[in-house]
Symmetry: C2
Subunit: 341 residues, 2 copies
């Protein structure tokens, strides 16, 4: 049943040569005659030889595997990024190992350790919402293993990162609401002040300021940004003396909850309250009405992250200077915010 796996030694034995010659022949080493190479390939085929990457990895000290850590792949943003990484990685003969933290700090720490022990050649990560302590990532850096962060990142780590311009996205989308005639715009932000949410909040505030609209604390609701939070948030906003006429939710799930609350009160979207949100999740296009969002070019984020990894790997000895890539977000306008035709 269990076929004995054939090794380069088996091939060598068949041809009366040594394993080292086989190894070189398979790698197309210039010092091996083309006849030998041909013979080696032929018997490799015949014996159904499959290289043992583990052995090679041990010897070479590199596994040709890139570890990817994301909160969950169950969101089109993250899975698209992963796809973008794979696109580039595969052409460079790297495989990826995808791990999910489910936004849990302990799981993130143990995942990093597991990847380190698996001797991945690099790690690309978007950290958990819970993560406040970055020591586990520091360890990666100290090991000399390329670490690239995307979307959610931490400046103090001094590693390369790829992000979209959250500030600009927030600014544009808020400005869009203003252009649609909104005067009293609410904002859903995350309790945990990770960079992306801080930037979105800044974008929101600056757009208001630049357009002569006042900022009101009561219109900014902090939560975990899940659907139920969004619903509760909107229900709360509707108790204000003066209810908002627009909402910019920093998360799509939050926007969904808000829509629910509005429908229950028979308020119209966008006529009574216009809604815009972030991250172009699949479902944003199928809600009623479809949601205006900011597209984050997730695939390109992945491409860029993988490219940085490759550069960094090749830089090696020479010191590599961490770089920051900021992609421009794009507005996707749908009915949830379209008051003017």
């Amino acid at each position: 049943m269990k076929t004995e796996k054939t090794t380069i030694h088996d091939i060598a034995r068949h041809l009366n040569i040594t394993a080292s010659t086989v190894s070189r022949a398979l790698k197309d080493h210039p010092k091996i005659s083309s006849e030998t190479k041909k013979a080696v390939h032929k018997t490799a085929q015949k014996l159904n030889y499959q290289p043992n990457h583990i052995a090679a990895a041990l010897r070479n000290g590199k596994s040709n595997i890139i570890g990817i850590i994301v909160p969950t792949v169950d969101r089109s943003f993250f899975s698209s990024v992963v796809r973008g990484i794979e696109e580039i990685a595969n052409t460079a003969k790297y495989n990826v190992m995808i791990c999910q933290t489910y936004d849990n700090f302990e799981k993130e720490v143990s995942t990093v350790e597991a990847l380190l022990n698996a001797r991945v050649d690099g790690i690309i990560v978007s950290h958990a919402k819970e993560t406040l302590n970055f020591d586990h990532f520091l360890k990666v850096k100290e090991r000399g293993i390329p670490l690239i962060m995307f979307d959610r990142y931490n400046d103090e780590l001094e590693v390369s990162n790829v992000v979209i311009d959250d500030f600009l996205g927030a600014y544009k989308v808020t400005e869009h609401l203003i252009q649609q005639g909104c005067k009293r715009i609410a904002h859903f932000t995350n309790t945990r002040k990770i960079s992306i949410f801080k930037d979105r909040l800044r974008g929101y505030r600056e757009a208001l300021a630049d357009n002569g609209l006042p900022y009101a604390d009561e219109l900014v609701v902090e939560s975990n940004l899940q659907q139920e939070d969004g619903k509760a948030g909107m229900q709360h906003l509707l108790t204000l003396k003066e209810i908002p006429d627009g909402l910019f939710s920093a998360s799509a799930m939050g926007a969904l909850g808000a829509m629910e609350a509005l429908k229950e009160r028979n308020l119209r979207i966008p006529e009574d309250v216009a809604i815009v949100t972030f991250s172009n999740e699949t479902f944003t296009s199928v809600t009623e009405p479809p949601l205006t969002t900011v597209d984050q070019h997730s695939m390109r984020i992945g491409n860029a992250a993988a490219e940085i990894f490759l550069e960094e790997i090749n830089a090696r000895e020479r010191k590599f200077i961490p770089q920051k890539i900021v992609l421009k977000p794009e507005l996707i306008i749908r009915r949830s915010s379209l008051r003017k035709k």
Copy 2:
């Protein structure tokens, strides 16, 4: 910068003992005194020792990695299955390596090869829609590596598989439409006749027959089941002399397209055409109206698949008899099909 990684030999040197003792001490081998163990753990800590899984994998012939192959993780069904697998696998000290085929046959073949070369201890897979030839999976079997298929599978391979009862799900959901008063129910199925779609079609037909409704070829539309296919499919159905009053789409994206077509024609859902679909994707609950679907217990599918893997690994030498686990699906009734209050 690049910290020299410490090995068990370094620890051994520090304590004036041998590497094998260190190895045994770390694994809590009974033949090592507790003092030595304590000392080893202490200096391991001090030297910041991290085991090299690659070396162990080479020596032991097992990597403690389970390969997972899915069409894409960008669908809650698959990502939930993955999560279910991880849940069980992690408790048994296995890590997972997730790979996506994007429903492409060549990518699937090369992925299988990559996993084999990475010497994974087992493979859990839901194959690509395109896949008709299963030789690459046969190779996995021949290597003696546990192979478990879920959702989409192939009977001829004689490997364990975990599925939900597609027939029953289809039967129940069609019957539900009938109970809601539908007399002329259409069905969207896939062009490629992989088992799950065949079973859903059977369930549909049998439910019709059991309830005295005629089967009509013109009401069954074959496509790739994407959103645009669903839209086109419904547009076609609306040109029939007698249009349908119900639709069972074998895919959620297809149902979405159908809704689009109906809305454009100002037909009401569910009053004019009631809709039900399969697979409880996130977005099905946020459409207008929300879609009635069949929940596939995706997390439990993953649990079961991982459990079979563990059994199979432990069976080893003894011959393992492939098993088939069929989970019962559950109806989730939402407004898209609810005519009676």
